[in-house]
Symmetry: C2
Subunit: 344 residues, 2 copies
């Protein structure tokens, strides 16, 4: 395990009989070289197994060729796919990716972000963070992009259109003929207000009532709990929208466990279109927010900003309604009324 120290640029220079400046220019392909020098450099480098020390390089250039990505929950498939997209374009551009999982924390975020900011050329933050932290980030000398966060000056704020995503779902449910619709939100998320707004835009116009519920976490477990609470009420909704697919799936599972048929007894829909939503029963109607493409896109933005270009404000994708089985109106069949719990 213990070896001699790793070779430096100086060792290469000595072995090749040139100056270190020449070696530096060679590795960075900054000019052309005589055949003899080129050959000597090439063999010296491979013989010594030399590779650049990124710390030293970044000290003089002031750049790190790394981008930081902070998300609320690494294990949430939506964020995982954002990361996947971000990772892909980072690597393709010679950047490395530093990640930090905020684990849905609301405090101590700055302490987590600070080392990230110091080690990178730019930050992508997909989380709701305190205003003071946003201000601090804006004062940094680095490009910062927020995903799913309202606009704020000094930082780029991008990502899916939550308002539109929610409107799409509301429109579909209204069109299916539902007149009492529930929303299982997650009040502590930045995007929750937008989704609620999108819902109201459509529902208010259609004169449809919206019943709001709140999940403790944006997870399936929390969705189950809400379902257990909500479905036993006599005035339970006919259709329920989860603030994301995870919540919707938890809700659906608990509903089935309670003996409800989906969608005949209760219709359910989510937002995100995580891979799993295709594999639950019935398949979940949802809105695709193009998580992976969003990750790719925001990483492109950050890298372009970090290299001195201005960001492109154009959004990559509009949210897209994905109609599956979980929220169809029961054809012709009379809806189970509010007065009875079917099979229960």
């Amino acid at each position: 395990m213990s070896r001699r120290k790793t070779a430096t640029i100086r060792d290469v220079a000595e072995a090749a009989g040139v100056s270190i400046a020449t070696v530096s220019k060679f590795i960075n392909r900054q000019q052309s070289f005589s055949a003899s020098v080129e050959e000597k450099l090439r063999s010296a480098i491979s013989e010594l197994g030399y590779s650049q020390n990124p710390a030293a390089r970044s000290m003089v250039t002031g750049r790190t060729t790394a981008i930081g990505l902070a998300v609320m929950d690494i294990a949430n498939p939506h964020y995982a796919n954002v990361m996947k997209g971000a990772n892909r374009v980072a690597l393709a551009n010679g950047y490395n990716l530093l990640v930090v999982d905020l684990e849905e924390k609301a405090t101590g975020v700055r302490e987590l972000l600070e080392p990230l900011a110091l080690r990178t050329d730019g930050l992508i933050v997909s989380a709701r963070i305190p205003a003071a932290v946003v201000d601090w980030l804006a004062g940094l000398n680095k490009p910062v992009a927020f995903l799913g966060q309202p606009e704020r000056q000094g930082v780029v704020s991008v990502g899916m259109d939550s308002v539109e995503a929610a409107s799409l779902l509301a429109g579909y449910l209204v069109q299916q003929g539902f007149t009492r619709i529930g929303y299982v939100g997650y009040g502590r998320a930045a995007w929750n207000a937008e989704r609620l707004r999108g819902l109201h835009n459509v529902l208010d116009a259609a004169g449809v009532e919206l019943m709001e519920f709140d999940a403790e976490e944006p997870t399936s477990e929390a969705g189950e709990k809400v379902a257990a609470r909500v479905l036993l009420r006599p005035d339970r909704p006919q259709a329920v929208i989860g603030c994301n697919d995870l919540v919707a799936i938890g809700f659906m599972t608990e509903a089935r466990a309670l003996g409800f048929r989906i969608p005949q007894d209760i219709a359910i829909a989510g937002i995100d279109n995580i891979p799993t939503s295709r594999y639950v029963s019935p398949p979940l109607t949802t809105v695709d927010v193009f998580s992976e493409a969003t990750g790719e896109w925001v990483m492109k933005q950050i890298i372009s900003m970090a290299t001195g270009h201005s960001p492109d404000v154009h959004m990559p994708h509009e949210p897209l309604l994905v109609v599956r089985e979980s929220a169809k109106r029961a054809d012709g069949e009379e809806r189970a009324g509010t007065q009875t719990n079917p099979e229960y």
Copy 2:
């Protein structure tokens, strides 16, 4: 967006009227200070908003306080949870996490790993990689841990016991009375051979036939494809084990689409116990491999090695069978024979 250059240790020294050595010792809490100096330092630092430049620091110390993590697929919930655990203990110990998603690639891995190796104090590699790359990693002056990779000298190889996980499942299926069992493997994964071995250990002893199938990828989509191919054969198995939960879930979904009842017509089980497996219908019988705990554990190992201690060879958790509905033997009911496809 553009500000004056960020403050350096020299600026702090000047503002506080002390030498830079003193400042350095102060930030690193290396000695005690007179009250007056301490106060001046404290206010100078906060006034200038000074923070350490990690690149400069790491140049002289030779350490980076960062750990690299390479996984086959960021979006696979198993790996996502490994990352989650790894992230948690990294942050708790003042380390940052660099990740790279190998995207199931088999070539060009070294090129992806090299920058990671250069920027970190240690590497966790959860992927099958070519022998030459393993050798190169072993020659690095850094601790490297493999997850789900056979032992190799010079590197620590840890992670779940795939052999045992598979044996558990085989044992359960045999005990349920199944006599023709299928395995949907993923030949290109490092752990596949071990899982196969674990299966054979039990099945051969019990005199139960194992039918092997291969998925193109370790994903649900691939699982669906295999199901479409396998279930129409007259000699189809009575029970099928997916090489992981994703594959098993895809298989199950396609089976249901083809009209098979689970588990009456075909029993299905997976490995990993990803969160989703609880939410599919029926809930998936699987083996918990404690992804998150594994991530925590391996990160602890790497950090302890990176700080000069020797690694702990003790495994964190034995795999644990999680019995749910998808692989129960139909009680009393005669199994659907091989000659008919039910409801089809």
